[in-house]
Point group: C2
Chain length 516, copies 2
């Protein structure tokens, strides 16, 4: 383990570097300090000094790019190099990958070792078997070749079979588009549906900023609907109707409804009855239902269960001709948390073959998604089964991660609810809590003086005092006059008590400082 | 090797499937037949029958999507499941990956085996050493975590160092944006520069259709400049000036010049003097130079050498303030041909920090590119060196591939030049030949009757008769009234003679059929 010792030493140096980084950063909101090394800022500062001289300026670039905002990696996150609770990035916080998945990926990356005797000693029998199966699904076993633009057909067969097992309704591999994570799939659908600023997309508020960013980049209009914090971030169809009518009266053509279930940043899991009402609403109003279901494995309360919108709509007897539905899934979330692999898919149903050809064409312009991500997407939809050599270790790893996440969610929820002026709904699912904080008037004044949103000011003070990063609610949208922050439940369990203590101490002193 | 035998058997079945596929396909230009299994078309036909009933129709989607065309995977390529010479996809044709690169990728995918004794027997010492180095560059060794939006800093350091070795001029890791292949990088720059249809991008004709597709998707105007076939696809600054003035007189603001060097589909390698004139032109006219340099390793003639536009502009004394230059590189091309890994980067210089922040923000919306692709991009810019255990096998693999590509290019070039009415310029670099074909009047009439462009008609007849796929020149653009096709030089060397024979026999019978 020599190298691991050296490694840890290097990581110590790295984190001290990053500390330096962070101290520099706290003084600045510029992207100059994003890199993880102090050397990073010198060239930028040189460019900075010469900005005036440059050919391309903010006044001559695409204004849609300038309008686009992306809170999760915005200002607070430029300070985030050392920080812990801002992004749904489990493995950056020490979560270990699922061994079986990584074994299969390694074998598919270097198939030359599959026939070597040493390989039997290093890899499980079923990971070797699975690697052979996958290689046989890839024409010519060419893991380094562009695939079909929708992804390797055999992997889409596996994913469709996994969806059928999950839902109890048929799934068609030709409806599956494999993508580099869910984000490019969302962009593809926005690009398809948005013709001009007169086209609107209904999005939850609070929302994951990918949606506002993508709608802005494609020049459409975000039509907000508010989740009801009082009822545990409930999604009321009456609110959908109200916002739809308001936007229509303004001449907006609403094309689609985005639903994030389980919720990000809000963590609620929709009840099946609620989902049925949403499906009915989309059918009646002729809206495409864009279902962000990337947290489908992340449900922490026994009284709630994940139901895909496809299952719900099919159980209502609605098929291809009744509703246009796109379900997004990713390898970045769940218990696997393989964010860096950039794998995911969308299942596209209820679109005619002519429109699907257009989606196919757009997918083709980027040729295909990365093959390792494609393979991983097939693995998460078809993990080891009872009887497979890896099954016990696999299920122990999976259950260990999910039960620990449930405990962390509860601990943090309780801790937030103990803070003066803070109320926090239950994290039923996903990876986040989104507590509401009532800030004293003085604190709001101090934020104004610092030219910050009050919740951003609170988060920045917390960061400076404790090194804990939260994302201000203003980045996700919230009822005007209310303030929130998003906190992931991802720090390793042994670190949670320290985080709670630091948070509690900071909050008390912050409130003492500003209490009227 | 039991499994490999089974594998080949399955591949035979697969290709017979695909033959069936192909026979179905030849009857249709629909994307229905894209999948590699006959099962594929049934659901599409069901959707097809129900198209009228669907909510979203061609008349209600983004017209920019409909306008976008992508020849390389267009109609001919829907027939391409069994075919050979259409896409620059080396490993799909049997090119083997570079062992060292795959060893490092496998070890980074499953670092748990790095300390196991069996690993020494399976992997080279320097691949193990390199894997450790890379892991130590990744904060927390988290290969499954989202990275910095520009890519892992340590890998960008390696890439910048590789660029310095290549060019002899400094490169800054903060100018590097790692991307899922070159295509997303090109989209990012088009998205940044194009504000409306009044913004133009100068593109070579013939061009790689990524550029026309991306400009169409972003709603800009492609301003064509013609490469001079008579001078080996020469790029004349006089032609650039002429087209620039013409488009300006039409009220188009030309933002950037795209140069593909070595050329795709044309295979020429620009002379350094020519590049200097191009740099001077961009500086004088205030154009961003978008340099597609993904074929920088693919030069086959001793009299030509690749020079990056950054090296050329720096050697002219031009720095950050003088010219805005973006260089695109990919792991998909070169001698490595790792298309499926979706790795690449762009080096962005001459932009102010404020605009770079905007590029960073757009990169952030997709979080990061896939980590395996990032690692591979660092490996191709920093391969094994003399003295490393892998160096000999690595350089043997590399030189074997490159020298074979050079021989294949020459053989195919000579074969095309022997065909009646066909002239073919030298493939100095890249992976393609783009011969010109003078078709008899009768053939052009037959094409009109079949509602096809004459070169598309020729390619489809060739495909039906021989199973060889070429891409019609009409997909790349060509001087009106001239006809071409693109042929990759990628089929394995032992297959080239058969291809030449089948091509020659087909061409003779085609000309006999239509000769006046």
């Amino acid at each position: 383990m020599r190298r691991f010792v050296i490694g840890s030493a290097r990581n110590l140096i790295e984190s001290s570097r990053q500390k330096y980084q962070f101290e520099r950063s706290i003084l600045s909101s510029s992207y100059r300090f994003l890199s993880s090394s102090p050397a990073a800022d010198s060239p930028s500062s040189s460019s900075s000094s010469s900005t005036m001289a440059h050919l391309v300026s903010l006044s001559t670039i695409n204004p849609k790019v300038i309008e686009c905002e992306y809170a999760v990696r915005g200002e607070i996150v430029t300070l985030a190099q050392i920080l812990y609770c801002n992004i749904g990035n489990p493995q950056s916080l020490g979560q270990q990958p699922i061994t079986f998945f990584r074994e299969v990926l390694a074998l598919c990356d270097h198939p030359a070792i599959l026939d070597k005797s040493e390989t039997q000693g290093l890899f499980s029998a079923d990971s070797i078997e699975r690697a052979w199966q996958i290689l046989d699904q890839i024409p010519g076993r060419a893991t380094g070749a562009y695939s079909h633009s929708q992804g390797i057909k055999g992997l889409r067969d596996t994913i469709a079979a996994g969806i059928e097992v999950r839902d109890g309704f048929p799934a068609d591999p030709n409806d599956i588009f494999l993508t580099d994570g869910a984000s490019p799939a969302v962009h593809m659908m926005m690009q398809l549906l948005i013709r001009s600023e007169k086209d609107g997309i209904l999005c939850p508020i609070p929302q994951y900023p990918l949606y506002s960013a993508s709608i802005a980049l494609h020049g459409g209009t975000l039509v907000p609907y508010y989740l009801d914090e009082a009822t545990g971030w409930g999604l009321e169809v009456s609110e959908l109707k109200k916002q739809l009518e308001t936007s229509r009266s303004k001449g907006i053509t609403v094309r689609a409804l985005v639903v994030i279930n389980p919720g990000n940043p809000t963590g609620q899991v929709l009840a099946e009855e609620n989902q049925k009402a949403i499906v009915e609403f989309c059918k009646q109003e002729g809206l495409v239902l864009l279902a962000d279901e990337v947290y489908q494995e992340n449900v922490y309360v026994p009284e709630k269960k994940f139901h895909s919108f496809k299952k719900v709509s099919r159980s209502m007897g609605y098929g291809e001709k009744d509703i246009a539905l796109v379900s997004f899934q990713s390898v970045s979330k769940g218990y696997y948390g393989e964010c860096g692999k950039r794998g995911g898919y969308m299942e596209v149903t209820g679109f005619g073959v002519d429109v699907r050809e257009q989606i196919y064409k757009v997918a083709s312009v980027n040729l295909c998604s990365n093959i390792s991500g494609q393979i991983l997407a097939s693995l998460v939809m078809s993990p080891p089964k009872v009887g497979d050599e890896s099954y016990e270790s696999y299920s122990a790893e999976r259950d260990g991660i999910l039960s620990s996440l449930a405990r962390r969610a509860k601990t943090l929820e309780d801790a937030f609810n103990k803070l003066e002026g803070v109320t926090c709904n239950k994290a039923e699912g996903a990876m986040y809590l989104f507590p509401r904080i009532d800030l004293p008037e003085k604190a709001i004044k101090a934020a104004e003086a610092a030219k910050k949103a009050p919740d951003a000011y609170y988060c920045q003070r917390l960061l400076a005092a404790t090194g804990i990063v939260l994302v201000p609610g203003s980045g996700f949208g919230q009822v005007p006059g209310t303030w929130h922050f998003r906190c992931t439940i991802l720090p390793q369990e042994e670190k949670i008590p320290a985080i709670v203590t630091r948070l509690t101490d900071f909050h008390k002193s912050f409130m003492d400082e500003f209490r009227g």
